[in-house]
């Protein structure tokens, strides 16, 4: 089944969501800057959000044949708020880390090992 020849549906959104998820994971794994890692987290969370909204949308699901109610949109709103709370704490932690290490390079966090 070729996505390119189809009208835009849930599957297309799932693919975009998966791309966002993978980009986020790669970003978290490769970025050495703590803020870069934070951006990766946001990408992963929004990839999941996109999936929720795509599954919940009745427009995408062929003229309301499969409505899932508003649950998907609701959980996406919750996730946005939680992501904001996490970002606030992330910035506090990063600032504090910078005060101690004079860098935001996470590779310097290697004191504890063994």
């Amino acid at each position: 089944m070729n996505l390119l020849t189809q009208p835009v549906g849930v599957s297309h959104y799932l693919v975009v969501g998966a791309v966002l998820f993978v980009c986020g994971v790669v970003c978290m794994a490769t970025k050495r800057n703590a803020l870069g890692v934070l951006m990766g987290i946001e990408l992963v969370l929004n990839g999941a959000n996109l999936n929720f909204i795509a599954f919940g949308s009745h427009v995408l699901n062929r003229a309301g044949a499969r409505t899932l109610g508003l649950d998907g949109q609701l959980i996406a709103l919750f996730v946005i708020v939680l992501a904001a709370a996490e970002a606030a704490i992330a910035l506090a932690i990063t600032l504090n880390y910078y005060n101690n290490q004079a860098t935001v390079d996470v590779d310097h966090a290697d004191e504890l090992r063994g």
Partner: protein, 525 residues
């Protein structure tokens, strides 16, 4: 009906109120010791409400079943013990936010305990995680503390995101965020075209929750973080997220996702075997006490996953509830583990002082003579964690191994033999684990030291560890009530996803539920 669930949520409301009060007023009141008492009072009130308004919730987002009340008791009890153990730290070195954040984490766990909906479950899980970052940030001292905070934060946020991604797929195939409806949809098998998404949802949710319980290969943060922070923070991180992860596993993976058990038991089996072997083997080489206990907590996560493996395998057979129920054994083990872990970290808190906690195993030398009662309590915890009869940990291990060995296959081929192998790996691990637990006991009693431990961690920590030791002994000598409670909890978790379905279907038919959830699936691929 709504009054019922409002009253049911009184413990959560109390804790939210008290925690907010502490965080807001903490700025203005200089006398810090008061906040531990306020927090303890809030938890006692919450416990009274849990007792009074037990299982009266209507359907909706909450499952007010025996599972919820078992976990709520465990959580409120653990919260009270943790507040006691942290009393000294929170009045000497910490701001009021410390104990406030602890209450928020307990509140999140209470929500997870009765969540029957993915939204509420995720909010509850985050409400456990976010305060724990603040606790780590406030509780850790110096460069190692900050490093531990940064490591834990980034990995934990990532695991939450992975869990959420899995939830999204589960929502897609289940057609709802409500676990009862997901179960009703999936009981006939995943709709065609969605098989891949079902397996993806299972693997992603399992991975995200495996991080919370520190199971391999997501365990590597635990030793670093526990070592870098204070003993009381280590206790919080070893207990609260683990309860959250196990409960979410029971509610979502254990009962609400039928039809995925084939993938499920293979995955859980490999992870369980890997986790306990890795944890126990690496613990043998450690000299830092908190690092050793971190590896021990990893190993215990592995034992608990035996229960999940049995539950997954049992989903495939005809009769789902046998006398040796995997989920019940897992919940019992969780409670026993929580008691012993809080106890041993509380004892370590007591043995240290404000400046420096007890760091290495060698520093515990001579405790048998200088601090006989604390040493005895630590010995009780070590024997319980090692699974020596007649202590509580023995019954926990017995239940788990018995559930794996006694597993009767219906038409599911293969699972029985592998579960037997898993039980044997578990037994071998228990023998290896005895090595490092007994080493601590031997150091305390058979080695002398000219520099005795400070023992300035405060009366609260001492009392908490003493109570834990008594409870471990009591459960060990009289395991019956708790075994029954855990068995009822597991049964309730199973039946409430099914029984509610009948009630909700009736509600939908009567038109009292505003949205209809019974459309035909059409093919997205």
């Amino acid at each position: 009906m709504t009054t019922d669930s409002v009253l049911y949520l009184l413990p959560e409301a109390t804790l939210a109120g008290v925690a907010t009060l502490i965080v807001v007023l903490g700025v203005f009141v200089a006398w810090r010791a008061v906040w531990s008492w306020v927090a303890a009072a809030g938890l006692v009130f919450a416990a009274v409400f849990v007792l009074r308004f037990d299982g009266v919730a209507d359907g909706g987002l909450l499952a007010g079943d025996a599972m919820a009340s078992f976990v709520r008791w465990l959580v409120v009890g653990s919260g009270l013990l943790l507040v006691m153990a942290a009393a000294r730290a929170s009045c000497r070195t910490q701001t009021a936010e410390y104990v406030g954040s602890l209450l928020f984490a307990v509140l999140g766990l209470l929500l997870v305990a009765s969540a029957q909906d993915l939204t509420l479950m995720f909010v509850g899980l985050e409400l456990v995680s976010i305060p724990s970052y603040i606790l780590l940030y406030l509780g850790g001292r110096g460069v190692p503390g900050k490093e531990a905070t940064a490591k834990y934060f980034f990995l934990s946020v990532f695991s939450s995101a992975v869990t959420l991604y899995g939830f999204a797929f589960l929502y897609g195939i289940g057609g709802s965020t409500h676990l009862v409806e997901i179960h009703a949809r999936l009981i006939d098998g995943v709709p065609s075209g969605f098989q891949l998404l079902g397996a993806l949802a299972l693997v992603l949710i399992f991975s995200g929750l495996a991080f919370k319980i520190a199971a391999a290969p997501f365990h590597f943060y635990a030793p670093d973080v526990y070592q870098g922070t204070s003993p009381i923070n280590a206790a919080i991180l070893a207990v609260l997220p683990k309860i959250a992860g196990i409960v979410a596993m029971v509610r979502i993976l254990g009962v609400a996702m039928p039809g995925q058990s084939e993938t499920g038991w293979h995955l859980a089996l490999v992870v369980a075997a890997l986790t306990m072997t890795l944890g126990n083997t690496l613990a043998l080489w450690q000299n830092n006490v908190r690092r050793l206990l971190a590896y021990s907590s990893i190993a215990h996560a592995g034992y608990m996953l035996i229960g999940l493996t049995v539950a997954f395998a049992a989903q495939q057979t005809v009769d789902t509830v046998s006398q040796f129920d995997g989920l019940a054994a897992m919940l019992f083990y969780l409670a026993v583990y929580a008691l012993a872990t809080i106890g041993v970290f509380a004892a370590l808190t007591y043995l240290g002082d404000d400046q420096r906690p007890l760091e290495t195993v060698d520093e515990m030398a001579g405790l048998g003579r200088s601090r006989p009662i604390t040493a005895l309590a630590i010995a009780v915890f070590m024997f319980s964690l090692a699974g020596v009869p007649p202590l509580a940990g023995f019954w926990g291990k017995l239940g788990l191994f018995a559930s794996a060995i006694a597993f009767q296959p219906g038409q599911a081929g293969g699972a029985q033999g592998w579960l037997l192998v898993l039980a044997i790996i578990g037994l071998l691990n228990a023998v290896v684990a005895a090595g490092y637990y007994l080493r601590i006991v031997a150091v305390m009693y058979f080695r002398s030291s000219d520099r005795p431990a400070a023992g300035e961690g405060g009366a609260g920590a001492w009392t908490a560890s003493f109570i834990c030791a008594l409870l471990v002994l009591a459960v060990g000598l009289l395991p019956g009530p708790m075994v029954n409670a855990s068995r009822q909890a597991a049964t309730a978790a199973r039946t409430s996803v099914q029984q509610d379905a009948v009630e909700r279907a009736a509600d939908v038919a009567a038109g009292s539920v505003p949205f209809s959830q019974t459309p035909a699936m059409n093919e997205p691929f």
